[in-house]
């Protein structure tokens, strides 16, 4: 009698433990997503904005049931802004963590170095920011890009010059001597040719310079109608401050993306930032579902402001989650196939990976013109999304109040 009870107890216990093990197994099995970002080093500022955006998006997705009941687990790899570190970071994510999909990729140089690794191991890589054109021009079938390539950043500038600033005939081009800067400046040169703009001065500079006066002096001597700059935030701020010091008065100051849209730019440059135009990929006032909500939520949660880089990362997380949900199985191959069929609306705009020109699996998006007016970044072009009318031409420094 005692024996039977004992046996029955053992059986029940065994069954119970099976259940527990099984349910624990389900709960513990997360979907790992690798994220490559610069978390330390000089680009860490943007890396942080993007990391927080990824985390925020993942939390939202997990709160709504995750990927078919499984929670998303983000594995961040710090690329420190260096291509070789980025490469080994991706290798680590693939070989050791066995992630089915990788996303992130901030600087162009790092992304360009990391993409071939993902392609070689056949693990899909959804790029959110790295924008050098050639990354999606190599026919890689495991590389997807959400943000437009660097050459398309100035599209809105082009239409602004055609639509409003028709009397701009000459330009000066200043760019950071990096993969992104060179790529952007080259495409601006081509656009300028198409628009009949004459480029009087073209100067690269090294990021982190203290004194831009030598090149600005040259620009002043050339007296162009427009100055086009491709710079990160603090170089951008110094360029504008020193332009003001030298009283350079073109009709237009235009920043080609990157640093000119950040709140830090306006705060550190002070009144020297006023009137500066910038091409941007995103502002929170755009009519995309969740754009405003993302911006407000980010500000509330982290107490700091976000900008287009963050929106890219936030959208990338949703795109990845969407593909994981639709994939037949959570393997790199199936996730890749699901990604290729992506067609969704995100806070960053519609996402669909298409092939055009030389590019493959590239998302095609509009770009916008914004202008700093009294310390506020206003969308001014195209008119359909404008929050304020543009101020053109920019008033000369000594006539400003």
């Amino acid at each position: 009698m005692k024996g039977t009870v004992g046996k029955a107890f053992v059986v029940v216990a065994a069954i119970l433990s099976l259940f527990v093990a099984a349910s624990a197994g389900i709960a513990a099995e997360t979907v790992k997503v690798g994220v490559l970002l610069p978390l330390t080093g000089s680009q860490a500022k943007f890396g942080e904005i993007e990391k927080r955006s990824y985390e925020m998006a993942a939390e939202e997705i997990n709160a709504k049931g995750g990927v078919n009941g499984r929670k998303i687990e983000l594995l961040f790899e710090d690329d420190t802004g260096k291509p070789d570190v980025g490469r080994s970071g991706v290798e680590k994510l693939i070989a050791r963590e066995k992630v089915p999909v990788i996303t992130g990729g901030y600087s162009s140089s790092v992304t360009a170095a990391a993409a071939p690794v993902a392609q070689q191991f056949k693990v899909p890589f959804v790029i959110c920011t790295g924008s050098a054109d050639d990354i999606t021009e190599k026919g890689y079938d495991y590389i997807f890009r959400i943000n437009p390539p660097a050459s398309e950043y100035p599209n809105s500038v082009k239409s602004f010059l055609q639509g409003v600033a028709k009397d701009v005939k000459t330009a000066a081009l200043l760019y950071e001597n990096s993969a992104f800067g060179q790529s952007s400046s080259k495409s601006f040169e081509e656009d300028a040719k198409g628009l009949g703009l004459k480029i009087l001065v073209k100067e690269g500079y090294q990021a982190g310079a203290i004194d831009f006066k030598p090149i600005l002096t040259k620009v002043k001597a050339a007296n162009p109608d427009m100055i086009y700059m491709v710079s990160y935030v603090m170089d951008a701020s110094l360029l504008m401050r020193q332009s003001k010091e030298l009283r350079i008065n073109p009709k237009l100051f235009v920043g080609g993306g990157a640093g000119f849209t950040l709140p830090e730019f306006a705060k550190s440059a002070g009144d020297a930032a006023d009137g500066v135009y910038s091409a941007t990929l995103w502002v929170e006032t755009l009519p995309f579902p969740g754009a405003r909500e993302y911006f407000d939520k980010f500000k509330k949660k982290y107490g700091s402001e976000t900008e287009y880089h963050g929106a890219e990362a936030y959208a990338a997380m949703y795109v990845v989650a969407d593909a994981l949900k639709r994939a037949k199985s959570i393997t790199p191959k199936d996730v890749r196939d699901a990604l290729a069929k992506t067609d969704m609306k995100t806070a960053f705009g519609p996402v669909k990976f298409v092939s055009y020109d030389k590019k493959t699996q590239q998302n095609k998006l509009d770009t916008y013109m914004v202008q700093w007016q009294k310390g506020v970044l206003e969308a001014v072009w195209p008119k359909s999304v404008a929050t304020k009318t543009y101020i053109y031409p920019t008033p000369p420094w000594d006539k400003r109040k």
Partner: protein, 290 residues
């Protein structure tokens, strides 16, 4: 002509600041025979001190009088408790002190990142964006003031080394440590004071740079490299050499930026560095003999 003059002015103003950055390193180099590879990081720390004081409403030029003593104390502590113990261990070569400074630099950077995060900080003062004109040439007010203060410090340093007892002891230690010890100079104390002075001087440079530049934890590295170039240019351990080295580097960068292209700024500095090593191995010190 305007372009040339403007470039010249920009180069000299920047050079004054470079001299102040270089002079601290050259002092340490002369006395201890080691390159302090945490030099730029010490400057970064001083800039954060300036930043914190500025948020409390203290002007960067007044913050200088807080940052300098603070960094002096830090320098003294580093030399006394982190670098000197390495000299006492027999098997350890002087290179190990250099490695130690690299480590100190990293620790300082990461501590600052931990406290302030990687965000860019900046100090905006009423004179940050101010300029005055002489003819057609613009002078940035902040950089001109910085130049003046930098020159004042450098000259003061020069006379301190030349005329005071402590200065003489420092020079004696730099020239021949053993002989100085035999003459009754407490060389251990001298090294500690020298490191403190070096840190204090670079702190001054940081305070002067803060209103015109920006502040982030990784700012140290490039400035350590610049200080190193200046030290080699000037001749190891030479104060006057450091002034020449700083101004030369500033001028070379500006002239290079105007006439070759600003993207070559660093290449120009390093090219001069190599040329000096090849053709004037003692640096400018060889020409001045001080």
């Amino acid at each position: 002509m305007d372009v040339f003059l403007q470039t010249l002015v920009a180069g000299i103003l920047k050079g004054g600041l470079y001299a102040l950055i270089g002079i601290g390193m050259t002092l340490i180099m002369g006395v201890m025979g080691i390159i302090n590879l945490a030099h730029g990081q010490l400057m970064m720390l001083a800039m954060y001190v300036t930043f914190v004081l500025n948020t409390m409403g203290v002007d960067p030029y007044i913050a200088l009088f807080v940052a300098m003593p603070l960094l002096f104390l830090l320098g003294v502590t580093i030399q006394k408790f982190l670098l000197n113990p390495l000299i006492k261990a027999d098997t350890i070569l002087p290179e190990n002190q250099v490695l130690m400074t690299v480590g100190i630099g990293m620790v300082l950077t990461e501590i600052v990142r931990f406290i302030f995060s990687s965000d860019y900080k900046y100090i905006t003062t009423s004179y940050s964006n101010q300029t005055f004109y002489l003819g057609n040439i613009s002078f940035s007010s902040a950089l001109t003031i910085a130049f003046g203060i930098a020159i004042a410090f450098t000259v003061a340093m020069f006379f301190f080394l030349l005329k005071t007892d402590l200065g003489r002891s420092i020079r004696a230690t730099a020239q021949d440590k053993d002989a100085a010890t035999l003459m009754g100079v407490n060389t251990g104390r001298i090294t500690v004071i020298t490191f403190g002075l070096g840190a204090g001087l670079v702190a001054a440079a940081g305070c002067l740079l803060a209103p015109v530049y920006y502040i982030f934890p990784d700012l140290g590295g490039p400035f350590t490299a610049k200080a190193f170039i200046i030290t080699i240019l000037g001749g190891l351990g030479s104060t006057v050499g450091a002034i020449f080295g700083g101004v030369t580097l500033g001028l070379a960068e500006s002239m290079g930026a105007t006439y070759f292209g600003m993207e070559y700024e660093d290449i120009i500095g390093l090219t001069i560095f190599v040329l000096v090593l090849l053709f004037l191995p003692g640096g400018f010190k060889r020409l001045t003999k001080i």
